[in-house]
């Protein structure tokens, strides 16, 4: 290499951390959704929801690291963090929706179509 070119460049030893962290983003994301789901469904007590929030925090941190390691623009990193804040509310909105729709469509016990 004759001259040094300054530009965003992923060095070979950074690939493994990057792939690992992006997998962790989704794994923690699922763990968060799963914990909240199972707690809301009553498979285990509401106390476990705190574990879910811990997963959310880990996910947020992983995404932050990912954005730093792939050398995103500072603006992009900020957008990602705002997105993660939104993700904190999604399961709650989701279950609100499930409960409301259950109450609306499944309460009357009407066996309208049970044809098989």
């Amino acid at each position: 290499m004759n001259e040094l070119i300054v530009r965003p460049e992923i060095t070979p030893d950074m690939f493994l951390p990057i792939f690992t962290i992006s997998t962790l983003v989704l794994v923690f994301g699922v763990a968060y959704a799963a914990t909240i789901t199972l707690a809301k469904m009553g498979y285990f007590s509401k106390k476990w929801m705190n574990l879910g929030y811990l997963f959310w925090a880990l996910q947020t941190y992983s995404l932050y690291l990912l954005s730093v390691w792939i050398q995103s623009e500072p603006f992009t990193s900020k957008v990602l963090m705002v997105t993660m804040l939104a993700y904190l509310f999604i399961p709650h909105l989701y279950f609100r929706l499930i409960e409301d729709s259950d109450r609306r469509y499944d309460s009357g016990n009407n066996i309208a179509e049970q044809k098989n």
């Binding site: 290499m1 004759n2 070119i5 530009r7 965003p8 609100r96 929706l97 409301d100 729709s101 109450r103 609306r104 469509y105 309460s107 009357g108």
Partner: protein, 218 residues
């Protein structure tokens, strides 16, 4: 159904309408962007080349010029460069002849099923090297191994010779099979490869040929 406080969030018509609007909006945006992109990736003309107008996909007559791949500080990645004229198979090709040759080459690249071993612009199968910048690959440069192997004096002749008898010039245990490529089709394929190397791929592949310390071998 006679439930009182019916929330809009559990209303099927609400979600149906939302789905339709979102889908419609995304589709319209895609179509609009498609028009813009089509304008930008339409092949340039011979005049563009003569006047030094940069096109993402230049005219077929780009085969009459030297092609390089260099770092652009403005764009932050490598871009193809179109340099001075050089003969291609010993001559300069007119706009019509060049277009015909490229047509034959692109057609042959499909009928010989290149894409089910190689990748073109990174798409295809992963059994053989990517061909996006094959034309400027150091292996085919004056000092590269392939020229000596095929015993030809120019890069285009060396590549054409290889394409016609690939398993005569094995480079690795994994070889390219004989596909019955004729001399004319081979010429066309070389033109197709040279043309493809002049397409602006936003810096893909990155650091092409970095190892040899030269990215604009010719």
């Amino acid at each position: 159904m006679a439930n009182k406080n019916l929330s809009v969030w559990t209303s099927i018509p609400f979600w149906r309408r939302s789905a339709a609007w979102v889908t419609g909006f995304a589709s319209i945006l895609l179509i609009w962007l498609t028009f813009d992109t089509l304008g930008q990736i339409t092949m340039g003309t011979d005049d563009d080349l003569k006047n030094g107008v940069t096109k993402r996909v230049p005219a077929a007559t780009v085969i009459n010029y030297k092609i390089g791949y260099e770092m652009s500080t403005k764009r932050g990645h490598e871009v193809p460069t179109i340099g001075e004229k050089e003969p291609f198979f010993g001559k300069e090709w007119s706009a019509d002849d060049a277009a015909d040759l490229l047509h034959l080459g692109k057609l042959t690249s499909q009928t010989k099923n290149c894409m089910n071993c190689h990748t073109l612009l990174g798409n295809g199968a992963y059994y053989a090297p990517d061909l996006t910048k094959a034309w400027i690959d150091p292996a085919w440069s004056k000092t590269g191994p392939m020229m000596a192997m095929t015993g030809k004096s120019t890069k285009e002749e060396a590549i054409a010779e290889f394409l016609q008898h690939p398993s005569t010039y094995p480079t690795h245990a994994r070889m390219m099979p004989e596909l019955g490529i004729t001399a004319d089709e081979a010429k066309g394929l070389v033109a197709f490869l040279k043309h493809m190397s002049s397409i602006d791929t936003n810096g893909f592949p990155r650091n092409f040929g970095k190892e040899e310390g030269s990215t604009n071998a010719h």
